[in-house]
Structures are given as C-alpha cells and as structure tokens.
C-alpha cells in the first residue's frame, strides 16, 4: 500500500515537473522593442578642404522612409574640442526625398571633426555620431586629437574641471 502511494506520487512529481518544463519552452519571445527609428549618416568618401560638402542622413522607421521628421539637425565640431561639443555648429537639415535629409557644410581646416545628427520623430529621438577626417591628417595630429579629447572628456563642468587631487 505504502509503496503504491509512493510510486504514484513519484509519477505525479515527474509529470508536474515535465509539464513545467514544456511550459517554459513555450515562452513567448515577444520583443519589447520601443524604437525602430534608424538613422544612417551618409558622408562622402573623402572630404576636401574649403569646399561645400554634402552631408546626409537617411531615416527609416520599421524600414519605411521617414519623410516627416519633427527635427533633423546636424551638429559639427572640431574633434580637438573633444566630445564636449565646445564651439559646435548646429545646422538644420532639409528633407530631400525618401527620408533623406541634407545639409551642406564647408570645412576650413584639415583635421578630425565630429558630426552628430539630432533627430526627433514623434516620441522617438536618436543622435548618432560620426567622426570625419578632413583633408590630410598626420599620425601626430591624430594623436594630439586623442589627447585633447581626454582633457575635454569631462565636458560641461568648467567650474570644477580644474580640480586636482
């Protein structure tokens, strides 16, 4: 009698646990992705000095072109100023066609620049950032840019930036 009960219970245990296992494999893999807004910054293969250069950003939402973005801005600054965006230039972009937004800029000096797009489409915001090399940049200059960036990395904290310890 006792043995029978024990065997019965063991079977029940096995059944319950296997049921739990199958249930867990059925897990719904629903993705909670909020943003499908994609922005691709398109820049020329090479950027010449003191010439009007066209910079573009291609916007898609769920792989469909976004033609009515609320805001598309290009922010450009010299990499020597680091990522603190000191002295950056903000240009509003115009929609051309098929989700392609365009600005033109002229680079006056050789060097490394950052171009960041600020995009708002409804509740969604993206701000991808690219690094551009304009004209001829020597290895030393690149190194100098890196070192400058380190110093400016602390952006937005001028009053306390000089703290030493």
């Amino acid at each position: 009698m006792m043995k029978k009960i024990a065997v019965g219970i063991m079977l029940a245990l096995v059944l319950v646990s296997s049921a739990a296992c199958t249930a867990s494999t059925d897990t719904q893999k629903k993705q909670h992705v909020s943003s499908q807004l994609n922005a691709e910054i398109i820049t020329p293969e090479s950027i010449a000095l003191k010439q009007e250069t066209v910079l573009q950003v291609s916007l898609t939402d769920h792989n469909e072109p976004v033609t009515k973005a609320d805001l598309v801005h290009f922010e450009i600054w010299d990499a020597k100023k680091g990522q603190g965006k000191e002295g950056s230039q903000m240009i509003s972009a115009q929609h051309e066609k098929d989700g392609l937004y365009t600005v033109s800029a002229t680079f006056e000096q050789n060097g490394v620049y950052f171009v960041q797009t600020h995009i708002s489409v409804g509740e969604q915001h993206v701000m991808p950032k690219k690094q551009l090399i304009v004209g001829e940049v020597s290895a030393e200059e690149l190194k100098a840019v890196q070192e400058e960036m380190l110093k400016h990395e602390m952006g937005g904290s001028e009053g306390h930036g000089g703290h030493h310890h």
Binding site: M2, L13, S34, T43, V112, F114, M127
Partner: protein, 467 residues
Amino acid sequence: MEANQAVQTNAVSVKTKSKASFYQIVWRWHFYAGLFAAPFLIVLAISGGVYLFKPQIESMLYQNMYYVEQPTDGSTALAPSALIHFVQQMHPNGQINSIMFYDDTTRTVEIGMVDNDIASSVFVNPYSGEVMGSLISGERFTDFFVKMHSELIIGGTVANYLVELAACWTVILLLTGLYMWWPRNRASIWGTVLPRLGQKGKVFWRDMHAVPAFWLSLFILILVLTGLPWSAVTGKQISSLATSTNTGYPPYALGSGAKPESTLKTKDVAKGGPWATENLPVPVSTASSYVPLTINEAVIIAEGAKVEKPYRVIMPKNEKGVYTVTTSHTVPGGEATLHLDQYSGAILSDVRYADYGIMGKAITVGIALHEGRLFGLANQLLGLITCLGVIGIVVSSFVMWRKRKPQTKLGSPTPSKDKNRTRVVFFLMLVMGILMPLVGISIIVVFVLDRFVLSRIKPVKEWLHGA
C-alpha cells in the same frame, strides 16, 4: 501538548480518540521536520535579521565613502564622464562598467570597475571628483549575511537547496504546528492566544512555543513564500509558471538578463568606445566612422525618458553592446530598465513596473516586503520581530525536546498504531511535496532510506523511532 493529552484521557470518547490519534501522527511529523529545520531557521533568522537593516548599517559603516557635503555655493554635479575620468586616473588599468546615481544629493556616485579580475565599487564625490574610497564586490559587511542567508556561507548549489528545503519544511511545520495548537477540548485564551505564564515546566515551555508561533505564523509564512522566488527549484517553477501564463516580467525587463543588441550601422565603427578602458575613439584611416555615444549622452537620454534616480547605467560590453539603464528603487513602482543603442541612442527597449504581468508585480512587491523595503522602518521592524520570534520558537522547542528526551533515544513522539490515519497524513504530506518538490523528494528519500536501510539496523531504528 501534555495538558491537552491529560484532558483527553479524562474525557474518553470515540471522537477525541480519533483526534488524539491524528494528533499523535501530526506531532511526529512536526518533530522530525523541526529537528531538521531548526538549525537552518536559526541561521536564516540571524542573517536575515541583520540584513534587513542593510541600508542603516552600511550608511553608518561606509559613511565616509557614501556621503559628502553638498557644496553651498550652488555648484552642480560634474558630468558623469568627468567622474569616470577621475576614477580612471586613480585606477589606470581598471575597466569601468557601470555608474550609479543616487537620489540623495549628498550621496557619492558609485562607479563599478573591474581591475585585475577584481570587481569593486569606487565612490566618487560628484561635486569635486574626489575619489572617496572603494569596496570590493561581495566583501561589504552585509554581503556576508546575504551569503549566510542564501547559501549558508559555504555557498554553492547544495547549500542553496538546503536553505530552500528548510524553508519549505517550515511551511509544513507551520501547518502541523497550527493543527496541534488548535484548541481541542476547551476554548480558552490561555495556552492559545496568551501563554500560561503561571505554569511551570512543560506547560510553560509549550506555551512559549505555541503561542508566539501562532501569532507569528502568518508573518513566517509570508517570509517563506516571498523568499521562494529566489530559490533554485520552486523559484524556477514560479518563473516558468509566470512565463507560461505571460504574467511575469516582459523580455528585457531586468538589467541583469538578456539584452538587445546595438545596430551596427556600418562595418567601420571606430575602435575603442565606452566599453574599452580608454573611453575614447581612435581615429581610423577611413574618412568617417560611427562613434559610440558618451556616458553623458546616455544619461541625458535616460533622464529624457523620465528614469528617476537612483539608477545605474551599465556600459556596453562590446561593439554590439547597449547602454543599460536600470533603476533600483527601494519601494516597488518606479522600476525601469532601458536598453539604449550605443551608436544612435535609440531606446531599444523600455520596460517599466506597469509593464510587468500580475505575477511579476507580485514577485517584485513580495521581494520588497521580504527585504523590509516595502513600508519603511515598520516593515524592517516587523521582519526583525519575526526573526527574533523564530529564534525564540526554536529555543523553546529545543527546551521542550531536552525535557522529554531520554538519554539513549532521540525522544521522538510514539508512532500511532492507527495505520490508516498514518497513511492519510502521509498522503497529505506527499500532496505538499508536489507543491514543494524538494519536500516531496526529501520525503521519498527519507521514506526509502528509513524503510530499506535504517529499519534494518536495530540500534539506529530504536534511537530514531523512539518507543
């Protein structure tokens, strides 16, 4: 019990006889279960009682690292990247992987770092950038008690299973205990809701055991149930039940779990990035390349998405990684976990408390209750009273046991001669064993061991089974 039994012998009727028989059987279960669970309950109560007060204890112990004075000149906190920079200067080889901001303006910012394979938290003054000190992960004062509470210090799966086993057996102790506590022949508040302090010996100790246990039974049960989501076996069952009914946590709800990936827009992503030690892009030979967003930009996005402090930002682990923003509010409701594309700042996933399923919410609230965070100091004190009560209950049971234990035997209650009732109770226990698998397995293991091994060794049998 003695008192009850004495009363029962006075009024011999068929009905009381059957009750006495069940009582006898239930008492035996209660005895063996208690014998096993008691040491664990003491460890859990002590470690839990200390851990409840983690916020107060750590604020006091690590005051110099945790708190700074807010400048009176109205200056604001430095940019997160600046704080990271200061920490990086102190620990040039450290890899910074997270930054935590507290809602208290006098709290330091906590930066998570791995240096030489050692994970630690570095505390930095948000106003001056001064590094206040660091603590190695897992070596804080309360970490010891967490480990004691969940893995009995020795650690590992076995210890974790033992804790769960003891917790589940505690449920059975509560049920069998309440059955024995239930007033049978006379309805009196003495010995049920109030102890008979005037009595001496066994009656006194019985009341010191049963009366507080009755009062605390609900709290103990709540602590056991709210602790189970952490457990290895039952916890897994709970989460698979929540997942299968779609009432748990939505995908990407937890910062420690799976993460989405950043979209790699082009093959030419600048090397380096926030996940790397140097936290700056290295110019590459191509004309243009994407640059990961800085921690400052990630924080701006998080604040823009109405994530409230305290929250932690976890750095992307590699090129495909994301910035993960995860809150750690003490009171449930403000939870948020966001995953940000490290190149575009797009919010790839944003899960709030409101998005949790009913079980996800219940588990979140239950955990807060268990940890004494749900309703402030009162919650902590209730937890503490329960912990102290459990210790008292174990002590009184120990006294009762010593009082009746013969020198040469374990002193277990006499087995009932009523085979049918013994089976009924055994069956009920096995039903409990289905609800709590570890209990079921342990019953079967003990049953088989007792039936086929221990019963054949006469001295052991006599010692274990009493009269």
